[in-house]
Amino acid sequence: MKDFDHLLMVWQGQPKLEPVAVEEVLKQVKKGMSSLTRNLFWSITGMLLALFGISMVMLFFVFHSWITYAGIAVILSTMVIYVLMMIRDYRLINKQDLTIDPSSYLQSLKEYQKSRATIYGWMYYLYVLLLSVGLTLYFFEVLQSASTQFKLAAYGLTAAWLLFCTFYLKGRIFASEQEKLNLMIDRLVRLQEQFN
């Protein structure tokens, strides 16, 4: 029968399993961003680029109808609101201080999950609705001189893309993100129960 002191001796006498060298770790840390925030960071960058592009269209293209400008303005404002929401989420993740104890960390994860659910929930439908209104107004003048086939193709493809994003892509992205968050939350809850 071995006692705990024996286990302590075994532990302390274990061959040195060398952790990775500090240089290797430094190389890694200098790469920056953690995987959790990377996706959100690139989504924000993509949206900002799109915003820049659309702003250029508004500034440098001359349209005759105010409806077109109204359409672009609706698109731009919708995107700005969405980007602001994404930035808020990005800050929320970054604010999540991993140095805090598991229960506070769990609380911030739940807060983040709730915020993401809102973004992928009714806010997304509002976003798509406003975007569709904006695009319809924009196409009104832009496609005026186009052939019927071209008009049909433009409206059809836009509608198809929005429907694809709403009913296929959104669900998959949301489900995968929620699954990851649920796993993290479940484990933290389990651990909290063990500590209590």
């Binding site: 071995k2 890694q28 140095t99 104890d101 063990q194 500590f195």
Partner: protein, 166 residues
């Protein structure tokens, strides 16, 4: 400024990496995964080094980061499956060790059979981290911790004796 940060990081890494590695290894039973978790922990240390204002021991702060990193480790099902294999991994590793080191492999196997919270606490106990620091890392009172540690020690010793007889 950047050089200072790098220098501070080197010092912190050299002083803490072995214990953090033990913690991660005790948690996963797999040295590749332990090294990944170690790197992830120190990535967070690097990102948050400026926030550390000596309110607590830096080692406690790093332990806390490591514990939370270990807890969020099994994010995907693939990783979860890998975790379930931990005792098996430990078993396979046993064959690679010399007779003397079989005891170490057996100890890790027994640690992997413990609850997550127990694994975290016992690796800190084995590394002789002071009790107040363990209480701080795990977020439980020192009084409760002493009782818990007593039970974990008993459980681990029983497991060890059980598997040694097999």
């Amino acid at each position: 400024m950047a050089d200072n940060k790098e220098e501070a990081f080197r010092k912190v890494y050299e002083a803490n990496s072995k214990k953090i590695f033990h913690l991660c290894y005790g948690y996963t039973g797999d040295d590749d995964a332990a090294n990944d978790l170690l790197q992830e922990t120190f990535l967070k240390v690097w990102q948050n080094l400026h926030k550390f204002r000596n309110q607590a021991l830096i080692s406690t702060w790093i332990y806390r980061i490591a514990v939370n990193t270990c807890l969020t480790y099994l994010r995907s099902e693939k990783r979860q499956a890998k975790d379930e294999l931990t005792p098996l991994i430990a078993e396979n590793k046993r064959e690679e060790f010399s007779e003397k080191n079989e005891q170490v492999a057996l100890l890790y196997k027994c640690i992997s059979k413990l609850e997550e919270s127990e694994r975290i606490i016992i690796t800190l106990v084995l590394d002789e981290v002071p009790y107040p620091e363990i209480a701080d890392v795990s977020g439980i009172s020192e009084g409760n911790l002493r009782v818990k540690i007593y039970r974990i020690k008993q459980k681990l010793t029983e497991l060890y004796n059980h598997y040694e007889r097999l």
